[in-house]
Amino acid sequence: MISCTEFIWVYSELFRFIEARGGEEQLIAFWKGIADEFLGNLRQYVEEDGLEGMHRYWSHTLGEEGGRHTMTLYDDLFVIDMHECPSAKLIFQSGRVEPYPKYCEHCRWLYPPLLKKLGYEAEMDVIDCERGRCRLTVRKITE
């Protein structure tokens, strides 16, 4: 069994492998597949509780993953400021695997498209991939 404590390195190697076999297009298809077929729990939280559901979802996942971040929930806005992403830290600072340089790109393809389908505008700003700094900003789309 590949332990979930080893998964992030395996994930990164999988990105590299898929890109080598099928190019960037296939890698993006993989990331979209995760959003469409695996992130059902995020979709459910958001359908049930909107921005509060996002806050609950990421409180749980980021709480388990560790790292350092702040989450801000307004009536019409949800923001994650990631100061030190636990995954990026493992990839770029542990020395366990050769860092896959586009590792952080996967979050762009996993979260904003999924949230857009649910009626939200989401921006993923990768500030410094190697240091694990990024910001996810989500707003309710109003007509």
Binding site: C4, T5, R21, I34, E65, G66
Partner: protein
């Protein structure tokens, strides 16, 4: 318990199914076998240095962290790990995640690759639906 996010088992399962569907079992084998040279290189080195003790330590740490249920049965130079409740299968079943058709094959492939690189042999018998397996490890014949 920090840094144990069991949903990663579901993401791995999705990735293995994606690889199998897109490229077939040979590429799944290539990918997983290659992890012995990268992600599992520290474990390979530890086995070279300390033999089966390093493997026992590795698995005990993993299953303690993930709250799995295991037993050890050793005999005649063979280290035998009985997984009675696999944390990955248990978590995916409990949360309704799709489990890759050949999910447990990854254990066999990774174990064999890691052990081969370290001069050891591994074999795995599993019952994926039940989340149980028996893993055996021994020094490779010269």
């Amino acid at each position: 318990m920090s840094n144990v996010h069991k949903d990663f088992h579901g993401a791995l399962s999705f990735g293995l199914q994606f690889l199998d569907d897109a490229y077939g079992p040979e590429d799944v084998q290539d990918f997983l076998g290659g992890l012995a040279d990268t992600v599992y290189k520290p474990l390979v080195n530890a086995i070279r240095l300390r033999g089966l003790d390093a493997l026992r330590e590795h698995w005990q740490t993993v299953f303690d962290l993930e709250d799995g249920e295991i037993e050890w049965h050793d005999a005649d130079g063979t280290l035998e790990l009985h997984v009675l409740r696999c944390p990955a299968i248990t978590h995916m079943q409990a949360h309704g995640y799709a489990i890759a058709d050949h999910f447990c094959e990854h254990t066999r492939i990774v174990n064999e690759a890691v052990c081969r690189a370290a001069g050891y042999e591994a074999e795995v018998e599993y019952d994926q639906a039940q989340g149980r397996c028996v893993q055996r490890f021994r020094r490779a014949a010269p």
